[in-house]
């Protein structure tokens, strides 16, 4: 397990990964188990809610199909689970280690900064991927328990997009951490961006003035439309991948050049 920085990081984060993944699966199953009960009653209740709020909690039609229900209850609302984990990891693996001095110790070994940067990024992407996969597994398991059919291909696409969205936000934190070496700052920037963009994307249907800002929101490219309700939009995914790549490259360019001070 100690052959590479990537494997060592996975080993070090094994318990964290396990608990977050199990939580992701358990919560998803729990939510799916409520689908039969909420299918009709909640759908009716939603009709009483003003139109402006429906982008947050979904429309009555969403609750008639498991796909729509999962989009709202899992992929739209539980998405913060992998995002929070991603930001914690992305900021901790570089800036956290730098604050503790272990990054400096690692960099005095014969390893390039590029290798350190990429292995830590890959480790955080893998862990976030596993936790996001919990949505897929939990949805499938839940659907199996309640006896509802589910399109696994579409579910896989939605899971992939949830991972891409989580990583787009996480790599912002990763880049800020790599550039500044300040974990709190990196976490604040990524967290504030995620929260602000979530609010923008949630309200954009009712507040038209937010539309230009919505294009900066990763949630716009995730929920617009949801892969579980419509055909997968590869263009949306490419936008998120391109944005993530820009953050990664910016962080990389500065990280490999900047001074890293001993504690």
């Amino acid at each position: 397990m100690f052959k590479t920085i990537f494997l060592k990081t996975l080993f070090e984060k094994r318990w964290m990964t396990l608990w977050w993944t199990l939580s992701s699966v358990a919560l998803t199953v729990f939510i799916v188990l409520f689908f039969p009960a909420l299918k009709d009653s909640f759908g009716e209740a939603v009709k009483q809610i003003p139109e402006s709020m429906r982008s947050l909690i979904g429309s009555a039609e969403d609750y008639q199909q498991l796909g729509g229900y999962l989009t709202i209850q899992v992929f739209q609302q539980m998405i913060f689970l992998p995002i929070i984990l991603g930001v914690i990891l992305a900021t901790g693996l570089l800036a956290g280690d730098e604050n503790e001095g272990t990054l400096q110790t690692l960099l005095t070994q014969p390893v390039s900064r590029s290798r350190v940067y990429l292995h830590k990024l890959a480790a955080s992407a893998t862990i976030v991927g596993l936790v996001t996969f919990g949505f897929f597994f939990g949805s499938w398991l839940g659907a199996l328990i309640i006896g509802e059919p589910i399109n696994l291909w579409r579910l896989g696409q939605a899971t992939l997009m949830a991972w891409v969205v989580s990583m787009a936000i996480s790599v912002l934190g990763f880049a800020v951490a790599a550039i500044t070496g300040r974990r709190a700052l990196a976490g604040s920037v990524a967290g504030a961006y995620a929260f602000a963009m979530y609010v923008v994307s949630s309200l954009v249907e009712s507040v038209k003035a937010l539309r230009p800002l919505d294009y900066l929101s990763p949630f716009h490219y995730f929920n617009h439309p949801s892969p579980l309700k419509a055909a997968f939009d590869y263009g949306d995914m490419l936008v998120l991948l391109a944005a993530g790549a820009i953050f990664i490259i910016l962080g990389y360019i500065i990280f490999i050049r900047r001074d890293i001070y001993q504690r």
Binding site: E12, G101, T105, T108, P110, D259, Y261, Q262
Partner: protein
């Protein structure tokens, strides 16, 4: 053994962002192969700044570093493969055991010699099976020391290496350093404690406020330091006859029949003068080593010895 210096610093300057003064100013020195080189200075003098530059954690503002005859910026990765490094309070991965940490570093280096690690652990009395977070500072430092030594590096860079180590382990560390020297390997160690380097180092540089104030062998530094001369005389002693035309006398104090002064000049000339004086007794003492270094720490002038 190569005649090329292992470490060559030329005009090395480092100024941190936002600071108006250089943390390191125009530092030039060389360390030859097989030397145990002491880099002494008070806290904040620039020792860690220099070492951070040597191991590529930071970049110089001006000047350059050559290790093994090659530019340290261009060949940093290759150099770090030939270097072992130990920080004053080595930060290690708290969740790993000592052996996991060493296996990790060994894997990154690509030459993990388990039997040599076990030998080092035995010599340093290190417990490799406990998690790092449960170890005391001294025991963590032992793991760091093994990590620095386990690949038999040509150059060992140590920043305050024995902080936290008990005296027995310090003595074992000294033996290890001397064993390395016999193999022609180089050690560069910083310290703010003279006794830490006194037993080991053949060459020294003293740094104060970012500038090297002296760079010489320990013996030369002691030889060049002022001697304290005390004379027991009678009433006919004429101080002017002693001092006239003789360089190197300072702080001359006369009390009744005793005279004392510091002397840095030619000892033969002094003895010739003294032989012509009516003396009852003469004592000439080397300055205490601690005093010499304190004078450098507290603002002594740069010395060419």
């Amino acid at each position: 053994m190569s005649k090329q210096p292992v470490i060559e610093l030329a005009g090395l300057t480092k100024r941190y962002p936002g600071s108006s003064v250089d943390a390191l100013h125009d530092v030039s020195l060389t360390v030859d192969a097989g030397q145990i080189f002491g880099f002494l200075g008070p806290n904040g003098a620039g020792k860690t700044t220099t070492i951070s530059l040597l191991v590529n954690l930071t970049r110089p503002t001006a000047g350059h570093i050559k290790l093994f005859g090659q530019d340290n910026q261009a060949f940093g990765l290759e150099h770090r493969a030939r270097i072992g490094f130990l920080a004053g309070d080595m930060a290690l991965d708290k969740g790993l055991t000592g052996s996991q940490q060493l296996e990790y570093f060994g894997s990154l280096r690509g030459n993990f010699d388990k039997s040599y690690v076990r030998e080092l652990a035995k010599r340093l009395d290190a417990n490799l099976n406990k998690r790092i977070k449960t170890l005391s500072r001294g025991n963590r430092q032992k793991i760091g020391l093994i990590a620095a030594l386990m690949h038999r590096p040509e150059l060992l860079i140590l920043d305050e290496p024995t902080s936290g180590l008990d005296p027995l382990i310090q003595a074992e560390f000294n033996k290890l350093a001397l064993d390395r020297q016999k193999e022609g390997k180089t050690t560069f160690m910083s310290s703010h404690v003279l006794s830490e380097v006194q037993e080991l180092c053949d060459q020294l540089a003293i740094i104060r406020a970012g500038e090297v104030v002296t760079h010489a062998s320990l013996r030369d530094i002691v030889t060049a330091a002022p001697r304290v001369v005390r004379l027991a005389t009678d009433k006919s002693f004429r101080a002017s006859e002693l001092t006239k035309g003789l360089d190197g006398i300072s702080n001359l104090v006369r009390h009744d029949h005793t005279v004392s002064f510091n002397f840095t000049g030619d000892i033969n000339q002094l003895l010739a003068r003294l032989s012509r004086q009516p003396l009852k007794n003469v004592t000439i003492q080397n300055a205490e080593l601690e005093d010499i270094f304190m004078s450098f720490y507290q603002g002594g002038k740069a010395t060419d010895v």
